[in-house]
């Protein structure tokens, strides 16, 4: 692999790493603030227009199960998605030394990331249920990036097979 391409890949991985870590920390701080865990600074709101300044979660008995799923799901699936993306990038770089470019395990990481992204998007799109008495929502926007990721994982899987075929051609 050309040195410039390798250096570019390392630089992109570093940027992705920083973004993922910052995003994960922000998810924890944001969730903790709105849930009133470790700070009373309620000005950290969920997205644009999801809640007014100073809103706190209103736990309602009739939708408590959904509220728990959406609150903890957004936090956990969001962090898992960031972690999986970072893992994918790091493993891709580490494997370069051996001359291989595509790892079979990375295919499963991408599929897992697609599932996490879908669930995170669902929780994120329905965040209003934590504060307002509203209905659950499934939109086309929440399906787009997971589907793209899943399609990419299928293409990556093909690349793994072609790469293995090439490696075992003497």
């Amino acid at each position: 692999m050309k040195r410039t391409t390798k250096n570019l890949l390392i630089a992109v991985t570093a940027i992705v790493g920083i973004i993922c870590i910052v995003n994960a920390v922000w998810l924890i701080v944001q969730s903790g603030s709105v849930a009133g865990w470790f700070t009373d600074y309620r000005n950290i709101v969920y997205g644009d227009g999801a809640a007014e300044n100073g809103s706190k979660i209103v736990w309602r008995d009739n939708v408590l199960g959904w509220q728990y799923f959406i609150f903890y799901g957004r936090l956990l699936f969001g962090i898992a998605f960031d972690a999986l993306l970072l893992l994918f990038m790091i493993k891709s770089i580490l494997v370069l030394k051996s001359g291989a470019f595509f790892l079979k395990s990375n295919t499963y990481i991408l599929i897992s990331a697609a599932v996490c992204n879908l669930l995170y998007n669902f929780c994120n799109e329905n965040i209003r249920i934590l504060i307002y008495d509203t209905y659950k929502n499934i939109t086309d926007a929440m399906l787009l990036t997971p589907l793209i990721l899943f399609a990419f994982s299928l293409i990556y899987g093909l690349a793994v097979r072609v790469s293995e075929e090439n490696r075992l051609t003497i």
Partner: protein, 70 residues
Amino acid sequence: MAIIVNIDVMLARRKMSSGELAAKVGITPANLSILKTGKARAIRFTTLEALCRALDCQPGDILEYHPDSH
């Protein structure tokens, strides 16, 4: 795989080691081992030519077809 690569037989006849053959053919000992153990998915004509030249043999001397062994 139905195609068997009989390099060991030719190596014994020519009294050559695997390492020597790998060096003459220009492939790594690991790749030669992949060929010998039947794990290879394909062989390039250039590699086959180099093998035949190094072992002074025909492709039919090192490649065998067994339809029952898939």
